[in-house]
Amino acid sequence: MNGMIQNRNVFLDKIANRLGRDRKTIVKRPEWAYHPQDEVLKNATQDELVDVLKEQCKNIHTDFVITNTAKLSDSLKEVVNRYGGGPVITWKDERFDQYGLTKLMKEEWPQDGVDLHVWNYTKKEENIEKANVANVGITISDITLAESGTAVLFSSKDKGRTVSFLPATSIIIIPKSSIVPRMTQAARIIREKVKSGEQVASCINFITGPSNSADIEMILVVGVHGPIKATYIVVEDL
């Protein structure tokens, strides 16, 4: 159902009036004179982008792990252990299965006593309670920005927003194929989807390392409201 719009006409009329013209009903997005964003990491190969991402992780207090699909399960297990084990919460996402993580999630963790909650929208608020007490939240990057070290996450009913915010630590799996030079490419991918009539996700998170603040005497504190630690695990899926 469409939402209500109130007071629009007087408000916009006043603006047009101040601008000394009638209201505009058609404006074409201009051809911009400048395009500096196209120059950044212009001809970088996928391997070079991985290197850039790895370097940038040092600036954003994020651990960087690179592995292949065969070894992903071991890597993930190890990072979760390093973070002190469960409770773990993940999205419901078929990519976990594609990356060979089903055995870890369904057999190994239960055996090891690592409590795992997979996001289940039918259980509503219970998901948020689980996320709030979770030690580790695991998500998968949809687009990854090498320059800034950013994972882009699109929300959906199976991909709760709070999985990457409420747990004490965050692990983001980064398919190597998802890495692009910078936010420019992500914005274009999103715009293409919009233009082809797809609805943009109600929440898109561009996440760059753990939460932090320098509000007290400009001293950096890592882990304020969101996760205190973060690891990216890059999977060679190409």
Binding site: N2, G3, M4, I5, N7, R8, F11, L12, D13, K14, I15, R18, L19, R23, T25, V27, R29, P30, A33, Y34, H35, P36, Q37, V40, E125, N132, S148, G149, T150, S155, K157, G160, R161, T162, F165, M183, T184, I190, R191, V194, Q199, V200, S202, C203, I204, F206, T208, S211, N212, S213, A214, D215, I216, E217, M218, I219, G223, V224, H225, G226
Partner: protein, 476 residues
């Protein structure tokens, strides 16, 4: 807090600022760090001048077509089930929000940082209804717990407080028992605020950039507080200044890149989030109801006139961090939530010359602000224009010599202060200055200064400038 943060006279505010030695030290070291980081980030990015020009062309295009893009934005928010309210005045905005809050029977409201809600004095309006309003940005939370102190910096609101003072605030108000270590203070706030997010009825956020094409809003933080404010309460209200929008995701991206570099020297902050409408069917987290309140509150009067460029502002505070006068007097001296050069231009426009006529004089017109601005607002020219308007159109006498000298703590009565003051104020970047231009700076400055000349903060000391200025007019 309203836009006006103090009923004290300008001179008294400045005096206080000059006497607060911790604050002065904090301000100058913060400025230095911010400057270094910003320049480093700009250099690393490369083509900084082109980036600035691109930022400028985007902002100018949006302002020139503001009615069109606001129409498009509101259509697209509505299509996604969000409500849009256009508020011409602060009162209209506040009463709409009060209405929503009352209908929801809300008791607890969590907020993420928003200058425009300060500007319209929203918290007072909500507290009047008996609501508890909790600021979640760490700096703002500290100020709020400490009896609602005004912010002193756009990006670092509690810059004037040291960690011992913060510890004492938590101790006195919340029974905090740990030390003044920033980690422990932050952990305390984390634990307190986590409970608040989970139990709040309404979340209120600001908006860095709205995106017309998709009806989205963008939030930029390092703490992640805005995300929790938006994800957990059942009702979300976002308040935006009417000029804070862009055509599409592609322009949002450019402005965010400029904002995070200019504000904190980061490529991106930890959390950049675009939210579109309320949650969709099946979503568990996210608000059930979404309201976007678009605020004019004096902005349209700036449009179409000589001060229009100030509406290009993306609130990065780069100009604040570059300003030798801000460094000298501190944020509270401006008596407005908008401090520094941007505040000196904007506050008289939004709040009137009666309250803010001195602010355009709180500048040496050295131009450091203009050079720092990522969207190329000619700040020092706008300050100069203000002075002309004050004298010519408003028919007011120019701010008197005595007042000016006193205003900057440079009065004859405080020669020692004058010395310290001007020493601090003038050579902000002295190691790299050569005459009036910063030429070959080492390290991060080098590559950048090779490509362009960056005017140094005016070497001419304030007093000399003042003496030498043409009588009856201003030197620019």
């Amino acid at each position: 807090m309203a836009m006006k943060t103090s009923v004290e006279k300008f001179n008294d505010r400045v005096d206080k600022g000059l006497q607060d030695s911790f604050m002065r030290g904090a301000v100058s070291s913060a400025q230095e760090r911010f400057q270094t980081r910003r320049l480093g980030a700009a250099e690393e990015l490369g083509n900084w001048e082109e980036w600035r020009s691109h930022g400028e062309e985007i902002r100018q295009h949006v302002l020139d077509n503001l009615d069109y893009y606001l129409f498009e934005l509101s259509e697209n928010v509505s299509k996604r089930g969000g409500h849009v309210y256009f508020a011409q005045t602060a009162e209209e905005a506040t009463s709409y929000i009060q209405n929503v809050v009352e209908k929801k029977n809300a008791k607890k409201i969590v907020k993420s940082k928003s200058m425009v809600t300060e500007e319209i004095n929203l918290n007072a309006g909500l507290e009047k209804l008996g609501c508890e309003v909790i600021e979640t940005d760490l700096g703002e939370y500290i100020l709020q717990v400490g009896d609602h102190e005004p912010p002193s910096h756009i990006v670092v609101p509690a810059l004037h407080k040291n960690k011992e003072q913060i510890r004492d605030v938590f101790k006195e108000k919340q029974g905090y028992k740990k030390t003044e270590k920033p980690e422990e203070l932050a952990l305390h706030a984390r634990e307190k605020l986590r409970q608040e997010y989970l139990t709040a009825d309404v979340g209120i956020t600001g908006c860095n950039f709205a995106i017309a094409e998709t009806g989205s809003i963008t939030l930029v933080t390092n703490e992640g507080n805005a995300d929790l404010v938006a994800a957990l309460p059942k009702t979300q209200i976002t308040v935006m200044g009417m000029e804070r929008l862009v055509p599409t995701f592609e322009e949002m991206e450019v402005l965010v890149s400029l904002l995070t570099r200019s504000a904190v020297g980061q490529k991106l902050t930890s959390y950049i989030t675009t939210l579109t409408g309320p949650k969709e069917g099946g979503d568990v987290d996210g608000p059930e109801e979404f309201h976007l309140v678009i605020v004019d509150n004096g902005r349209s009067d700036i449009l179409g006139g000589e001060f229009q460029p100030i509406l290009q502002c993306i609130r990065c505070a780069a100009c604040v961090n570059a300003c030798p006068v801000y460094r000298h007097v501190g944020g509270h001296s401006y008596g407005s939530i908008y401090s520094g050069p941007v505040g000196a231009v904007l506050s008289p426009l939004l709040g009137g010359y009666d309250d803010y006529k001195e602010l355009p004089y709180a500048s040496t017109l050295c131009g450091a602000c203009t050079e720092a601005c990522p969207v190329k607002i000619p700040l020092h020219e706008l300050l100069h224009k203000h002075r002309q308007v004050i004298v010519e159109k408003e028919g007011r006498s120019p701010v008197s010599e005595k007042l000016l000298m006193k205003a900057f703590g440079l009065g004859a009565s405080s020669p020692a202060m004058y010395k310290i003051g001007s020493k601090m104020a003038s050579p902000v970047m002295s190691p790299f200055t050569n005459g009036n231009k910063i030429s070959k700076g080492p390290g991060p400055l080098k590559a950048w200064t090779e490509a362009r000349e960056f005017p140094a903060p005016n070497k001419e000391r304030f007093r000399d400038w003042f003496k030498n200025r043409p009588k009856g007019g201003e030197q620019s």
